[in-house]
Each structure stands twice: as C-alpha cells, then as structure tokens.
C-alpha cells in the first residue's frame, strides 16, 4: 500500500507536462510511511505543475538510516538538489563547510522573515545572518495518542492526561492489551523520555536543563522524579515488541495497544487508516499535563551544485515549499502544523486544531535537535533504549544521562 502510493505519486510526476526550461531536481527525504508519502506527493505535484520535475529520492528506514546516506552523498561529491533534515544542528557542519546553497535572496524576495511563524524556525536555518534552509512544517514530539475503543470496551473513561493513563493501565493490561506501544529504535525511547520530561517535569525544568544547560538541575530531585516516571512507564511498554514507530502506531490503531507517545506525525497514520480524531482516537499534546509543544520539524537544505540552471531551479523549489498553497496541501496530509500563521487551516481536524491553538498561544519550546548536537542525541538515545528495555535503576540512568549531557557543553 505504502509503495503503491509512492509509485502513484511518481507516476503522476512523470505524467504531468513539463515546460520548456524544465529542470530535473533530485530530492531526498525519509518520508515513506503511508501518511508521509501522501504528503510529499503534494509537494511533488506542486513542483511539477510549475514545469520543473521532482525526482523523488525517498530513503526508507527513518532519519537515522537516511541521514548518513544524505551526508555521505554531500560530502562525497555526489550531492542531490535538495534534502530533508530536521532543522537544528543536524546539517550545521555541512553549512559551516560551505556545502549548502545560501537562500537569503529567496527569503528576502518571499518575505520569509515576516511570514514564518514562530520565528525560531527561521533562526534554526540561519548562520551568520544567512539563511540556508526552507522550513516546511512544525512537528512536536510531545503527544500521547490513545485508542478510544480500548477504553470504552472496558467501560473506562478515555484518559485526559498522562496521570490518568498510568492509573488506568493495570485494567488495560488485565484485558490482555499492551498499555503503551513503543518501537525498539533508540530515538523513540529518547522521544518518549523527552515527552515525559515536559509532561511530568514541566516546561521550566525542561528549559533549565536543555536550554540553560544547568547540570545541577539535570542531576537534581525534579529530574529524578521524571526518571522515576519513565521507569514506571517502561513497565507499561514491556510487551511491545515492534521496531518502527508506525508499527507501534498501528498497534494503537488496531486496538492491540491503548496508547503511544509519538510526535504529531502519527496523525497521518490514523488519517490513512480512516480514523476520526475525537471519536476513534484521542490526542493529548504535552501528554495532557502541560500544553506545550516543541517546534521541531523538517526543513529542506539545498546542497551547492555547479550547474547555474539547477541552482535557479533549487531557488524556485525553496520558494514553492514555503508558499501558502503548498503549505496547506502538504501539512493537511502530513498532520503537521504549517510554518506560517497567515494561511487558512480551517479544514484541519480536531488534533491539528489543538496544535494550532497551542501554537497561537505561544507555549513553545525548542526541540532536542535544536539544543543538542547529534552526538549528544545519539548517546542519549543509546542510554534511553537501554533504560526502557532493561531494569536499569532510575538513579543510575540519571547519573549516566548527566554525563552524556556534559559531553555536549
């Protein structure tokens, strides 16, 4: 099904007429799940309609698999025309090494500075006053996804926050369901831990540790409570044996599991499965405890190419990705929030509206990818996956975690 959609998208891109000065651009990304492929097909369609051609270079297996491929192609002298990264520090060294195209003129012409909201998104693309990436969406990882039917079948109210979710877990487990679905990959454990930090510890603690990099707070009793909460949560995920995040989401969709901590990209999977937000499933931003969202997301970077014609096409693509029409079409399919506040998202569903409200209220924080280097993120992922899948004590995990954060100071 996944492949079929992708193939259909590709076919569409071939079938559309191309103009006289058509340029082929190869674009790499890791959007391969059902909802993601549908969303990226919207970009391809819009770009092909302008007369250029979107050559899709999807890399399956998630960002951790795709990024090494992208980076070695760029550093190895075989750059693609555009590539997805999570904006933040992932592509920073490539920009510093002068391998990325400067988009400042496009940004000025299109007025990105006034239109991109929140402005922190553009800041993450900026180095020495020059803009190097086009943000396309906002994704926040701090969401709890619940299958309503699991709870109504048991005669329980659908939990409204993390505390209620944990309290109802024993009954869910007694009914032979997995309370919390969690994929096996390190980044998913790291994400779940980050969400619990914001949900249980609160925003101030998160900012103190991750933005101000206060190591005393990281080693302090408030963080210890967060680790304890995570240690309790891992018992709920003990019977979850899947690898990929969308497999875990599928457990929630089919009612095999009651809930999952996952970013708002999970919504695309619910949409593809034909589920309705509010009736079939419930989404709780900030785990329902603290209504905060982090403004992570995806951005496109454009490696420098020797061909001036391609460079012009790269800039056309950059302008298109941020344009209002493409933003609406893409984000509605993707289930992510648009990067500009001046467009009409009235067709958004229940969950996206919750997100848009929080976005408008300004309860925002940066993501781990923005404040920590990939090195720290990888180490933290290694620690978290070990913590979630073994019986490592909360105190040990906290001590190791502080050591890891210190390597990134």
């Amino acid at each position: 099904m996944k492949n079929f959609k992708l193939a259909a998208g590709l076919l569409l891109s071939v079938a559309l007429p191309s103009g006289a000065f058509a340029t082929d651009l190869e674009i790499t990304h890791w959007w391969t799940s059902g909802g993601e492929a549908a969303a990226v097909a919207e970009f391809a369609k819009a770009f092909d309609a302008t007369g250029d051609k979107w050559v899709d270079g999807a890399i399956a297996g998630g960002g951790d698999t795709a990024r090494p491929v992208m980076i070695s192609r760029i550093t190895g002298g075989d750059p693609m025309a555009a590539t997805q990264f999570n904006h933040g520090q992932q592509a920073m060294e490539l920009v510093e090494a002068g391998l990325m195209l400067d988009l400042t003129d496009v940004a000025t012409a299109e007025g990105w500075k006034d239109k991109v909201f929140p402005p922190s998104l553009l800041d993450a693309c900026t180095l020495d006053g020059k803009i190097y990436c086009a943000p396309v969406n906002i994704h926040s990882p701090e969401w709890l996804w619940l299958n309503n039917k699991v709870y109504t079948d048991l005669g329980l109210p659908v939990p409204a926050n993390w505390a209620e979710f944990v309290a109802s877990a024993p009954q869910v487990e007694a009914a032979g369901k997995v309370p919390l679905a969690l994929g096996n990959q390190p980044w998913q454990s790291n994400l779940a831990f980050g969400a619990i930090t914001v949900g249980v510890g609160g925003l101030d603690l998160w900012k103190k540790v991750n933005v101000d990099k206060d190591m005393d707070a990281a080693a302090g009793p408030e963080m210890a409570a967060v680790f304890q909460a995570a240690a309790d949560a891992r018992k709920l995920a003990a019977k979850s044996t899947v690898q990929d995040w969308n497999q875990a989401t599928n457990m929630v969709i089919t009612g095999e599991a009651a809930g999952q901590i996952m970013g708002d990209w999970a919504q695309g999977e619910f949409a593809v499965a034909g589920k309705v937000a509010g009736t079939d499933y419930t989404c709780l931003p900030g785990l329902g405890m603290n209504a905060y969202l982090s403004t992570g997301g995806d951005a496109f970077y454009f490696p420098k190419l020797a061909d001036p014609e391609k460079e012009a096409a790269q800039k056309r693509l950059a302008a298109l990705l941020v344009s209002p029409e493409a933003q609406v079409a893409f984000n509605l399919k993707k289930g992510s929030l648009p990067i500009r506040g001046d467009i009409d998202m009235s067709t958004a569903n229940d969950c996206m509206k919750k997100g848009l409200e929080i976005l408008a209220s300004g309860n925002l924080l940066p993501t781990g990818d923005m404040v920590w280097s990939p090195d720290v993120q990888t180490q933290a992922g290694d620690l978290m996956v070990e913590f979630w899948k073994t019986d490592m004590s909360a105190a040990d995990a906290q001590a190791k975690w502080v050591e890891i954060l210190k390597t990134g100071l």
Binding site: D64, R67, P68, I71, S72, T75, Q90, E93, L94, A97, N184, Q185, T241, Q243, S373, P374, D375, Q377, T378, Q379, D382, L383, V385, E386, F387, W388, K389, T390, K400, T407
Partner: protein
C-alpha cells in the same frame, strides 16, 4: 645499503615484480595508508568532517566508559566464542559424516552449503521471521494447541544472542563443513589402512591421527571464522537492529552509528581502531604459526 648478493635477488624475476607494483601500491595506500589515517584521526575531536585538532586519548576514554560499547564487546566475546566452537565442532562432525562414503553425498553437500550462498541480510530476515513470536515457531506450535509454548528469543535481552547464534550457525556451518571435508579428502588413504591394521577404532583415529594432520585446515578455518565474527554487522542489523534495548549491539554497529548518525568521526575512528587491533590480535598469531613456523621447521 644492499649487499651485492641482495641486489641480484632484487632484480631476479623483474617482470613479475613490476606486474605486482600496482597491487602493492593499492594495498599500501588503501589498506595501510587509510588505516594509519584513521588511527591518527582517532586522536582528534573531529565531528562531521575530519579536523586535525588533537585531543590525546579523550576519545578512547569516552569509548571505554560508554556502556553501549562495553555491551558490544561483551556480546562479541560471548557470541564469538560460542559461534567459533559450534561452527568448528559441528562443521567437522558433518564433514566426518559426509566422509563415510554415503549415498547422495553431492545432494547432502549442496543442501548443507546452500545457506552459505545467502547473504547475512537475507539470513537475518529469514530468522527474524522464523523466531517472530506471532508468525514463527512459537505461533505455529501454539496453533497446534500447545497454548503456553513460549519461544521468543529475539525479544528477550538475555536470550537474544542465542537467537543470533542460531542464524549464524545455520549460515556458517556448511562452509566450515566444506573446508573440513576438503581437509579430510586430503588425508592419504594409506593412513587409514595403517590404523586399521593396527586395530585403532575409527573415532580414535579421527581424534589422535586425523585432527593433528589437519592442523592447517583448522587454523585457516579459525582465522576465517574469527575475522567474520569481528566484522559481524549485517546479520544483527537485519535480525534485531541491536535490540531489544542495547542487548545485541556489536562493535561494528557502534562505529557506524557514531561516524554517521552521531556525526562524531573521532569517536567512530577510536572504535574502529579498537576493532583493527582485535583483528590484528587474531591475525598475528596465525601469521606466526603459518609462516614463522615454516622458517624454523
């Protein structure tokens, strides 16, 4: 520098030596040169791109205090010793059974060797499915009515290495068997006749006479299998991706993950230098036994 006697040796077989120059150049630059470059840069704080800012042994200190690396090393030791012992014992036993002048030997040999024709990726995926609790062995046995049957090694941190071991043995034993069989076929028929005349039982002949005679075959097998174990990567990626948790991590995965995912070349180089060191630890005794021994003997 060279004495006249040496000089004549240098120019002997000149054509062959000239022909070998590209190969020597390649191995010098590609193997030796790049290895030295890697070792040198493992002492730097290189991130995504190599930079020559030296930091001493910092990368190594961090490496040896990282629990994922320590787990990887421990896994490699356990997996390595078990897989070494089992492939050689099982491979030799199978070869001996094959060598009993049985009917359809070719057929059996082909069947045994077939798994070796599959890549580790395919092997890993096949065994991931076989050991999957829902579709694999556990699911089938439960389907027969034995509801409480549990066999789920890949999701149990304590058993996952044995799940990998099963796949590795399935894949590798046939190859060892083929090597051993070649060794057995190289044993002179007269030796068998002599032991039969002396009335030595067959099993004793194998242990006391044949195995010592097959020493070179055993050493070659040992080196091939050991080198394969140290670079173990694709099987784990396909079968468990290092999970559950970090329970089936191996050093090669650590190297890849830190060089490319964490964008920390220095750390990745330090880990790969440790891997190079362990390959040398395997190879040097072998080279000594194989080549050093002949000089004296």
């Amino acid at each position: 520098m060279a004495t006249p006697a040496r000089k004549s040796r240098v120019f002997r077989n000149l054509n062959a030596k000239i022909a070998a120059v590209p190969m020597i150049f390649c191995s010098m630059v590609v193997f030796l040169g790049f290895s030295i470059w890697t070792v040198v840069y493992s002492f730097t704080s290189s991130k995504l791109l190599p930079k020559a800012n030296f930091v001493g042994f910092d990368q190594y200190e961090r490496l040896w205090s990282n629990s994922r690396w320590l787990v990887s090393i421990e896994n490699l030791m356990v997996f390595g010793s078990l897989s070494l012992i089992f492939t050689i014992v099982m491979g030799f036993t199978l070869a001996v059974l094959m060598d009993q002048k049985i009917r359809f030997e070719d057929t059996f040999r082909t069947i045994m060797l077939y798994p070796f024709a599959l890549s580790f990726i395919v092997t890993g995926l096949v065994w991931q499915w076989v050991l999957n609790p829902d579709f694999g062995i556990q699911g089938i046995v439960r389907g027969w009515g034995w509801e409480s049957f549990a066999f789920d090694p890949l999701n149990n941190p304590k058993l996952v290495l044995y799940g990998l071991l099963i796949a590795a043995l399935w894949q590798g034993t046939g190859f060892v068997m083929a090597l051993m069989l070649a060794g057995l076929r190289g044993i002179d028929e007269d030796i068998w006749k002599a032991t039969r005349v002396d009335g030595i039982p067959t099993w004793k002949t194998y242990i006391v006479v044949i195995i010592p005679m097959m020493r070179p075959v055993f050493i070659t097998t040992l080196v091939l299998v050991a080198a394969g174990i140290i670079k173990l990567y694709d099987l784990v990626i396909a079968q468990t991706s290092g999970g559950p948790g970090n329970a089936s991590q191996v050093p090669a995965m650590y190297v890849y993950s830190y060089m490319f995912q964490a964008q920390n070349l220095g750390q990745g180089f330090a880990a790969s230098t440790m891997m190079l060191l362990s390959v040398l630890i395997v190879l040097i005794p072998w080279a000594y036994l194989e080549f050093g021994g002949k000089k004296h003997g």
